[in-house]
């Protein structure tokens, strides 16, 4: 237990170091770190609407983070969540504006297709990873670019809303994910994300399948020896990860935008991956890290209005946090072995 405590305190220290570096950079771009911090806090938690706004930002990061966690558990780096999110978002919108179905069923159908689209999009990289050991990091990154262009093509050339900007027709209200409060766009997507995080954690902890997959990720040869079909589970894990990535897109479409547009939700896939990495692959801890990133994002919206710093300073801080966390755990572990474990754990 003290191990876990030490890891946790290390994580906190690392975040602190990153924030300190961030403060220096803020000084460099000519702003006051204190003012930036206060603005961020106000922007993230200033009133109930702001808090809801933070949770709204948290939702896609959380769901993408869970998608990443699923992959990481099985030793797979799904860097393609971004693309899966775009395709899922488009698929959900397509169901939403093409069919008319009873409320609820319509929404579920749209989410289902989003899930299928996400899974389908990762299927080819997953197949090649599982069968021929093709590096999934590169193949999923490259497929992101294709996904974004492809959904733009669908949107602009095939389904453009007449007279509108580069966007599809709006989905029918029957497909909406209901909002939770009257004063915010915050919707049941957050609940889906939370349930998903807890559910995935439980599945990994309490099912035989989850045990096998965890072993594939942490000790593949052991898993193979124990009769786990390493290749198949690798494929399945990437597929599930992609499915959840697609779901994230569906949730954004049905809960927030109610249509699909160009530049739908750029960067959430990466944010989610980072949140998952920071949480060391634990879906429940991802709730915390996603909330942290959500608060940063949401706080940053006030940053442009109230200070002269760019919102991108947030991105810089995020990157610094990841870097210092990835370094600090290793300072401790450095003496452990000579060979160096190059797994995703850091």
């Amino acid at each position: 237990m003290s191990d876990r405590l030490r890891a946790f305190s290390g994580q906190i220290i690392a975040v602190g170091v990153a924030l300190l570096l961030g403060a220096i950079i803020i000084l460099l771009v000519g702003e006051s770190p204190v003012r930036v911090l206060m603005t961020l806090l106000r922007g993230a938690f200033g009133d109930q609407e702001k808090i809801a706004g933070t949770l709204l930002q948290t939702t896609p990061i959380l769901i993408c983070g869970v998608a990443a966690c699923i992959g990481l558990r099985g030793g797979m780096f799904n860097v393609g969540i971004e693309g899966q999110l775009f395709l899922g978002g488009f698929a959900a919108a397509w169901v939403g504006f093409t069919f008319s179905l009873p409320a609820g069923i319509h929404m579920l159908a749209a989410l289902a297709l989003a899930i299928v689209a996400g899974a389908a999009w990762v299927a080819i990289p997953a197949f090649f990873r599982a069968r021929y050991n093709t590096n999934e990091v590169v193949s999923t990154i490259l497929s992101n670019y294709i996904a974004v262009l492809l959904t733009s093509y669908f949107t602009i050339f095939l389904f453009k809303r007449p007279g509108g900007w580069s966007e599809t027709p709006p989905i029918l209200a029957t497909a909406y994910l209901p909002e939770i409060f009257s004063f915010s766009r915050l919707n049941w997507g957050l609940v889906i994300g939370l349930l998903l995080a807890v559910g995935v954690a439980l599945i990994f902890r309490y099912t035989s399948w989850g045990y096998g997959v965890t072993m594939v990720g942490s000790a593949p040869k052991f898993a193979e020896y124990g009769g786990v079909n390493v290749k198949r589970q690798g494929f399945v894990v990437l597929l599930l990860s992609g499915a959840v990535g697609g779901l994230a897109g569906g949730v954004e479409t049905l809960g927030v935008h109610h249509l699909f547009m160009e530049g739908f939700a750029p960067g959430f896939g990466f944010d989610g991956l980072i949140a998952a990495l920071l949480a060391n692959g634990s879906p429940v801890a991802t709730i915390v890290t996603a909330l942290f990133f959500g608060a940063l994002r949401s706080g940053s919206l006030l940053l442009e209005v109230d200070t002269s710093a760019s919102r991108e300073i947030i991105t810089v801080i995020q990157a610094l946090i990841i870097l210092s966390v990835s370094a600090q755990v290793l300072i401790k572990r450095r003496g452990d072995s000579q060979a160096g474990e190059r797994r995703w754990k850091f």
Binding site: G43, E49, G53, L56, Q57, P60, L149, S152, I156, F157, P162, G163, G164, W165, S166, R185, E252, V256, H257, L259, M261, E262, G263, F264, A265, P266, G267, F268, R297, S298, L301, L302, E304, V305, S310, R311
Partner: protein, 312 residues
């Protein structure tokens, strides 16, 4: 109540690109001239963020006018303007169906028509004009394939057809406003295929087009702001979309106690909000017949004889 100090905010994801730059220029000029409070907010590119950003601006009731530029902001703008009916929003570059808002509408198809006409007439001269081959084609590089850009292209094509029907227009899109290298390659491809004049409507991507015209020693046409300086000798002219004039006039009215009210202001060839400027170093080389014809065309547009279809 007469206002002692006017406070203005502007929000967009495109302040760095040609048209955005000209808006920022206008705002800054207004700031210097009238001492207004000015806040620029960059939306970034995440659709999820837009609505909160509008709310953050509108909530304090601090800004008299909020200028909004960019079609991707429309959905959020509509929602927020309903939530804050007292807040005056100025939507730049288009007209929406909300009658309570202020619209600054630009007739970019008019300027593009002139650009197309000039380009095709010069192309039709063939080798009489320096650097022109006998390909009888002109080019167009768009940023993303979206309605506004299509409207530019439409005007350009109609103008070309009107002035020299046998000159072909080759149009391509970079798919992005942020990849000048791609813009340069696209332009060079067009030049390589015999289009001697390329009109760019592609933000920073288009910057690559301008630079390519210098590299290939062909012609380019700039957009939004005066781009004659980017490749002297190779830029025929620029289709100016005077965002600066639009915001400056609106703010001037406001400061002068003449409150800006809902409705559409059109900035077109007639009002000088859109204008085609031939570069000074090129102007003397343009044959007289072309200049005459061009003036006729401009007049035709002004008195409504020439009707330009807008792209949907």
């Amino acid at each position: 109540a007469a206002q002692t100090k006017v406070s203005v905010a502007a929000i967009s994801g495109y302040f760095a690109q040609g048209f955005g730059v000209s808006i920022v220029n206008g705002l800054n000029k207004a700031k210097t001239d009238f001492g207004i409070d000015l806040k620029l907010v960059d939306t970034g590119n995440r659709a999820l963020d837009y609505q909160e950003q509008f709310e953050n601006l509108a909530k304090g009731k601090q800004y008299d006018l909020i200028f909004v530029m960019g079609w991707e902001l429309v959905d959020s703008l509509q929602k927020v303007s309903k939530e804050y009916p007292d807040q005056r929003f100025v939507f730049i570059d288009g007209v929406l169906d909300n009658p309570k808002m202020i619209y600054a509408n630009f007739a970019e198809e008019q300027g593009s028509f002139v650009a197309g006409a000039l380009a095709s007439m010069i192309e039709a001269k063939g080798s009489e004009f320096p650097k022109i081959g006998d390909g009888k084609a002109i080019g167009f590089v768009g940023g993303r394939d979206i309605p506004v850009i299509r409207n530019f292209l439409g005007g350009y094509e109609q103008g070309a057809k009107y002035a020299a029907p046998d000159v072909k227009v080759n149009s391509v899109f970079a798919g992005t406003f942020d990849d000048p290298a791609k813009g340069s390659e696209l332009a060079q491809a067009l030049y390589g295929q015999g289009s001697d004049i390329v009109y760019n409507v592609a933000g920073p991507t288009g910057e690559g087009v301008m630079q390519a015209s210098a590299a290939a020693d062909k012609y380019s046409i700039g957009v939004d702001i005066d781009m004659c300086g980017t490749a002297p000798g190779n830029v025929l002219g620029s289709m100016l979309k005077r965002g600066d004039i639009a915001v400056y006039t609106l703010i001037k009215d406001e400061v002068g106690g003449n409150k800006v009210t809902a409705g559409t202001r059109t900035f077109d060839l007639a009002s000088g909000g859109v204008e085609f400027k031939v570069c000074d170093d090129i102007a003397p080389k343009i044959p007289a017949d072309v200049t005459t014809k061009l003036d006729e065309i401009k007049k035709g547009i002004l008195d409504g004889k020439i009707v330009i279809a807008k792209a949907k």
